[in-house]
Point group: C2
Chain length 674, copies 2
Amino acid sequence: MADVREQLVSKSVNTLRMLAVDTIEKANSGHPGLPLGAAPMMYVLWQRHLRHAPAEPSWPDRDRFVLSAGHGSALLYAMLHLTGYDVTLDDLRAFRQWGSRTPGHPERGETPGVEATTGPLGQGVANGVGMAIAERALAARFNRPGFELVDHRTYVLAGDGDLMEGVAYEAISLAGHLKLGKLTLLYDSNDITLDGPLSLSFTGENVAKRFEACGWQVLRVEKGDTDVDAIDEAIAAAKKETGRPTMIEVKTTIGYGSPHRQGTSAAHGSPLGVEETRLTKEALGVDPDDTFHIPSDVADHLGGAVERGEKAVRAWNDLWEKYRAAHPGLADEWDRAVKGELPGRWDEAIPAWEGGEKIATRAAGGDVLQAIAAAVPSLLGGDADLSGSTKTRIAEEDSFDGVTGAGRNLHFGVREHAMAGVCNGLAYHGGIRPYCATFFCFSDYMRPSVRLAAMASLPVIYVWTHDSIEVGEDGPTHEPVEHLMAMRAVPGLTVIRPADANETAEAWRAAMKSDGPTALVLSRQKLPVLDTKRFAPAEGLSRGAYQLADPPGGEVEAILIATGGEMPVAVAAWEKLIGEGIGVRLVSMPSWELFDSQDDAYRESVLPAAVRARVSVEAGIRQGWEKWIGLDGVAVGIDRFGASAPGPENREKFGFTVDHVAEAVRALIGAGTA
Amino acid sequence: MADVREQLVSKSVNTLRMLAVDTIEKANSGHPGLPLGAAPMMYVLWQRHLRHAPAEPSWPDRDRFVLSAGHGSALLYAMLHLTGYDVTLDDLRAFRQWGSRTPGHPERGETPGVEATTGPLGQGVANGVGMAIAERALAARFNRPGFELVDHRTYVLAGDGDLMEGVAYEAISLAGHLKLGKLTLLYDSNDITLDGPLSLSFTGENVAKRFEACGWQVLRVEKGDTDVDAIDEAIAAAKKETGRPTMIEVKTTIGYGSPHRQGTSAAHGSPLGVEETRLTKEALGVDPDDTFHIPSDVADHLGGAVERGEKAVRAWNDLWEKYRAAHPGLADEWDRAVKGELPGRWDEAIPAWEGGEKIATRAAGGDVLQAIAAAVPSLLGGDADLSGSTKTRIAEEDSFDGVTGAGRNLHFGVREHAMAGVCNGLAYHGGIRPYCATFFCFSDYMRPSVRLAAMASLPVIYVWTHDSIEVGEDGPTHEPVEHLMAMRAVPGLTVIRPADANETAEAWRAAMKSDGPTALVLSRQKLPVLDTKRFAPAEGLSRGAYQLADPPGGEVEAILIATGGEMPVAVAAWEKLIGEGIGVRLVSMPSWELFDSQDDAYRESVLPAAVRARVSVEAGIRQGWEKWIGLDGVAVGIDRFGASAPGPENREKFGFTVDHVAEAVRALIGAGTA
C-alpha cells in the first residue's frame, strides 16, 4: 500500500512537472527550471496543507499562496488546472498568447486562483507579508468567542533572486518584527540564477542566518527534489510555530530531470526544446510521446481538492450563518469589508474649512483621515517613519500588533518599498482598505510596487507629502521636482494634488471611491483656503480640473492653470490681471487623470480649443504641460533640481511670483506690462 | 599628561557637538540628534584614522568618508571646518541658506570634502561599497611591486534608518560577497528613529547577526557617547581584518547632552531651541554664552589634519614621480583615468553596420561595448543577473574579484537598486567609468539612485534593454510603457533610444563623452539597419533629433517622428505616404535632452513651427509627446500596460502598423485614405 501511495505521489509530481514543461514547449517561451525543481514542494503544499476551494476561488477564509518567483507561472497554472480551478488544458495551450488567461507571469484578475501579480522579483514576498497582516487585522476585528471566522495562513514561494532584492529583505524584517506566525516562506534554493551559479554574486551570505537575524524560524529540507515527506514535515512544523514566521529552505535542482540542463542556468529561462523534453520525460518515467498528459489516478488524486474545498466552504458557511445570527452588526460590516464597500454616510464627518484660514494640505489631510478612519473601520495603514510629518497617524488607534491584529497604525519603519508591496498584499487579501505615507521624494523607492498596484488595479491610497521645493532647507535630495510628471506617467494611477484644505477633503473622497490606486500629493507649507464666495467650490475636483473663476466681463482671452501649492500665486496673478482688464480664466487642475476621464464637451468647456494663450503654474518640471498648453503656451515650472533654502525663498528664486506669472500671461496675449 | 590629553579629546568632541548645534540653531533648521550622538566616532575616525588632506580634497589616494545618514550634515560641516577644509565659520552660519556651500544634506560638488550626495536613506551605504570596489579595481590596474599607488580605505557612517532600507541590505550583501576588506561601516545605533523608539518597527531584527550572515566582521562599542578609546580600538581592529568588511555597532544616545531631548525622537530632526541649547552646553561643560566657539587648543589639535595631510600627499607625490619614471605608460593612463579623460582614438574600433542587416540594438550595444572596453580600461560595470540578455558582459574580461580587484565584469546579483548606488560610488571615487545594465522595466528599482546620479552629475551609463511591448511573452510586468517618459522627467539624465545599430554606436559615443548620467534604451527585437544611401547618417544622433529623410519634392506638409524600435514602421509609413505624393518629413528623435540642448535655429530646422501636422510613433505612453506635436498633432502610443503575447503580435494589436501610422498622417492633413 505504501508503495502504491508513494508511486502516486511521484507520478503526481512528475505530471505536474511535465504539464508545466509541455505548456512552455507549446508557447516556445517560458521558464522550465523552477517548475521542474519546485514541483515537489508545490505538490506537498497544495495537496496536503493549503486550505483552498478551487470552485470558490474568492472564499474569504482560504489560505493565500503567492508565487513570488512569478517566472515559474507554468507550474502554478498546471497546479490550478490539476486541482480543479477554471483553468483548462486549452488555457495551458494558450500560455503566453494574446488574450489568454495564462499570461507569462501571473496576473491577478486574469486567472482564477492567482492571488497576486508577480514577476518583478521580491514583490511577492512583500505581498505575502501584507496578506498575513490582513489576516490578523480581520481576525481581531471580526472573530468572536466560538467564531473563528478568520483563520488562515499565507504561503510564499520564493527563489534566490527574490531574496536578493532589497524589497524582500525589508518585508522579511517587518514580518519578523510583527511576529507573523501564520506566514510561511518556501525558499526554492537551487544555487542558480540567470547569469549562472549563485556563487557569482551571492556567496558571502548565509540566507538562513539572515532570516534568523530577522526573527524567523528557519527549517531546511535537504532533498527537495524527491523527499516529499521532509517537505511535509517542515510545513507541519511551520504551522506549529505560531510566534514567528517560518522560512523553509528547500534545496532543489533547477531543471530537475532534464539530462543536459538540470543544475545549470540554461534550465532557467528557455524552453527545453523537443529533444530535451523527450529526454526529460524519459528520465522521469513519463511517456515521451504524450504531451499535456494527465494520468487518471493523478487527476483523481489532485482533483480531490475540489471536494475538500467545497466541504471546507460549507463548514465555513455554516459558521458564517450562525455568526450572522449572533452578531448581525458585525456581519453587515464583514459583508461591506469583503465587498470593498463603504459604510453609509462614511464621509459625513469630513471637515470643511472657511475661506481665509491657512492650513497645509498635509495637515488638512490628517484631519480628513481622522474622520474617515472613524467611519470606515476597514481603513488600515501607516507610514515609513515619518508620521509626525505626514500627519497620517490615526489618533484614536494603537499601533498595529502583529500577534493579536489589534491597532490600525502600521509602523512600516524606514522601508518605503516594502510598505508599498505590503499595501498591495493588504489590498489583494481583501477586507482592508490600505493607505501609506512618506515624503513625495521617496515615492521613488516605492515605484516598482506602485506600478504593480496600478497594473492589478488595487485601491491603495498613497499619501505623499512635502511635495515641492517649498520643502525648503532639507534641499534638493528631499524636494520633488520630477515626481508629479513621473507618477502621472503610470497608467491606472490617479494622481491628485489639491490646492487647499477643501480640495484635500475632495481628494480623499475621490480616493476612497476609486477602484484603483490614488496618490494624494500634499504640501508641507500652509496654504490659504479658497473663499467659496469668490471661487468655485472644491467639489469641482471630482472632474479633475474646473474653472475656479472667470474674468468679470466673461470673455476669456487667456487661461491660467495651477495645481496644489502654486494656487496662491496663481490667484494673486489672476486678481492682478483682471484688475488690468485682461480676460483671464483661472483653472484649478488637481488631477490630470480625472480630467482625462471626462467627456470632450466638459474638457472643452474648461479649456476651449480656441483659447491658446495658456499658462500653467506648477512647482515641477515644465515638460509634460504641453498636453494642456500646447506649443503656444507657457509653463511656469522648474527644470532643475531644487535647493536648500527656506521655502519662501525657494519659491521666489524659482520664479513662482505674482509678477512672473502675470507677465507670462501678458506676454502671451501681447498686453503691455502694467 | 593623560588627563590633559583626555580633556582635550573630550573638549574636542564637545566643540564638534556644539559647533553643529550652533550651526543648526542659526539656521533654525536641521538635525541635532545625530551630531550630538555621533561626534565621538567622528572625532576618533577623523583625528586618528582617516588619511585625508584638507588642503587637497581631491588627492586620489585619500580615504573616503561617506555620511550615509546625510541629515547629520552639520556634524560633517563642523568637522570639515575644524580640520581645515575650505569651509569657513561664515559657511556654517549660512547653513541651509540659498547659495551656501552648506546645504541641508551633503551635496557632492558644493562643499570641499563632501564625497557623496546623501540624505535619501541607504544610498550612502551603496556609495561606500562602490568606492571600496573602485579602490580595489584601481589597485589591481595600477599598483606595481614597490608602488602601492592605490591603498586607501572607505568609511561609511550610517544610522538605523539607513540599515532598514533595502538598498543598504543589497549593498551589504554584495560587499560581503566581494570580501571588501577595506570597507568599514560605523553604525550609529541609538534605538531611535523619527517616529519614536526603534521598537515600533525594528525589534525583530538582530542587525549585528544580519551583517554576520552577510559575511562581515562585526564589532561593538558599548559606550559610544564617551568611550573614544573603545571606538579607536574597534576601528583599529577593522583595519586589521583584511579578508572581509567590518561593521562597528556603536551604541550612542541620540541628542546626547541635551537634558530634555536626549534619548528621544524629539532630538532627531528639530533644532534644540535657545534654552535647550544653553542647557546642553552647560551639561557638556561648554560656556552657554559662546556660540560658534572653538577653543584654540581644539583648533590646533584638529587643525593638525592639514599638516598630516600635506605630509601624506608629499610622500604620495614622491612615490608618484618615481612611478611615472618607472612606468610611464601606466602613469599616462592613470592621469587620464583620474581626470576622467578618454584615451586617444578610443572609439576607432566601434563597429559600423551596413544598411539592410538586422540586429537588435541590445546586441549592437554589446558589440560596441566590446570595442569601447578594449580601448578604455577605466570602463567597469556589470549587470543585475541578466547579462546574457542585456549583452553587457565584457567578453575578454573575468568576473570582478573583490580581493585582488582584477576582472572588469561586476556581477551585481539581482540587486538593481544597489547596482545603481554602487555605480554612483564608483563614479564618486574617480578613476572608473561605470556602466550597469538590466531590463528597462526594472529601472524603477534603481530610480532613487539614478536621481542622485543626475543631481551629482555622475557619468554613469545605464544600459536598459527590452524596452517595449516587443518584450512579448513575458508580459506587462516586464514591458516598459511609462518608463521612457518617467526617465525623461529626471533633470540632468540624458535618455537615448537609438533606432538601429549605427544609432546605438552613436549613443554609446554620446554617453562616453557626457559629464552626466546617460541611459541607453535598447530593443530586445531585431531592427533593420537604416540604409545611409537613402537616409541621413546616424551621426545626427548627437543633436538629439534629425531629419532622416525629406519628401522628394522637398515641401514638408507633415512630420513623422519616431524613436527606437518604432522606426521600421515609421519608415514604411513614410515610404507609403511619399508614394502617395504626400510631403512627409521623417525625423529620428533618439534623445529629447540632446535635442533640447541645441539652439533654437537647429530645432526650428528640424521641426519648423509652421508645420503643425505632426505624428509621433513610440511604444510608450502618449502623454508628454505634446511637447513636440502640440495640441494639433497625433501621438501613436500606448496608454495602458502591455500584454503577454509574441512581440510582433503585440506590435500589431497596439497599433504600431504601417496603415495606422500612415492614416494618422493623412487624417491630420486632410488627405483621403489611399
